[in-house]
């Protein structure tokens, strides 16, 4: 029974990871792509790891490592997205043509 639940978690995670990758290809600019990459890949990978935790038999050595990986992934992936998007904007990468506002560029105009 627990194996089936674990399989369901792994399957859901794979589906979300695929959607994240699809978003990475389809969406227009770096910021939109990061949105798909962070959200879908975070939850997808966490779901796969949680499925692994269940299938590894709960609090076994493998299970513990999977849980720790979830915590670090949730903490690290938004920070990475934040760093990439900020770096991209500072490097002068434009938003998509059809974007509506860019308050960040307005506020940064005075600076170098």
């Amino acid at each position: 029974m627990i194996d089936i639940i674990g399989m369901v978690f792994i399957g859901t995670g794979l589906a979300f990871d695929v959607l994240g990758c699809l978003g990475l290809v389809r969406l227009p600019d770096v910021y939109n792509r990061l949105q798909a990459a962070t959200k879908c890949v975070t939850l997808g990978t966490c779901s796969i790891l949680f499925g692994t935790f269940l299938m590894a038999g709960g609090f076994t050595p493998t299970g513990f490592k999977a849980l720790i990986a979830i915590v670090f992934l949730v903490l690290a992936s938004p920070v990475a997205a934040h760093a990439i998007s900020r770096g991209a904007h500072r490097a002068g990468i434009k938003l998509w043509d059809k974007s509506i506002v860019d308050s960040y560029a307005e506020d940064k105009e005075g600076e170098a």
């Binding site: 979300f16 959607l19 994240g20 699809l22 978003g23 389809r26 969406l27 227009p28 600019d29 910021y31 939109n32 990061l34 949105q35 798909a36 962070t38 959200k39 879908c40 975070t42 939850l43 997808g44 076994t60 050595p61 513990f64 490592k65 849980l67 720790i68 949730v74 903490l75 938004p78 920070v79 997205a81 934040h82 998007s85 900020r86 904007h89 938003l95 998509w96 059809k98 974007s99 509506i100 506002v101 860019d102 308050s103 960040y104 560029a105 506020d107």
Partner: protein
């Protein structure tokens, strides 16, 4: 000093979990590594220890912040999935400002991370002095402060303010 000791305990605990089941060899190596980590990074770990040990704050964090966060994360995924699968890609992106009243580093970090993992929003930069977050929003509804606060900030800010900022919590 207090911060260094806590860093040591934390690093040691993570090490023990990583090499479960611990034996003597692992424990000695772990203590050495944790000492090095605590010596280098210790002073940045916690700046306000009294916050961490307040049971009401911990309770709010575990049973109020985390369930809402997981729910928002799920919603965010279906939101992105919908936008990606939809043939005409209903996106309407832009970068907007969000005023925040949070002042502490921890509070701002959690707010920025929560915003990144909730539907349609991604934190680009933080201006700590003025309390402004720059947010890339996949479906801009409006760029005036009230709209951004209602749509983005109101889900997490009051909660994080209670957990990380206020001097007395009830």
């Amino acid at each position: 000093m207090k911060s260094r000791i806590m860093m040591f305990v934390f690093a040691f605990a993570v090490w023990c979990i990583l090499c479960w089941v611990p034996d003597t060899q692992h424990l000695i190596a772990g203590a050495a590594v944790a000492l090095i980590v605590a010596a280098i990074m210790g002073s940045m770990f916690v700046t306000r220890p009294h916050m961490l040990f307040n049971p009401i704050r911990v309770f709010y964090f575990l049973f109020w912040y985390i369930p809402i966060f997981i729910w928002e994360l799920l919603k965010a995924n279906f939101d992105v999935a919908y936008r990606v699968i939809h043939p005409s890609m209903p996106i309407n992106p832009g970068i907007v400002r969000l005023k925040t009243e949070l002042k502490s580093d921890t509070g701002l970090t959690f707010l920025a991370n929560s915003i990144t993992l909730t539907p349609g929003t991604l934190t680009v930069d933080i201006n700590k002095e003025d309390g402004i977050l720059y947010i890339h929003w996949i479906n801009v509804v409006g760029s005036d402060p009230d709209t951004t606060f209602r749509e983005i900030g109101s889900r997490f800010e009051p909660m994080l303010k209670k957990i990380f900022e206020e001097d007395v919590v009830k």
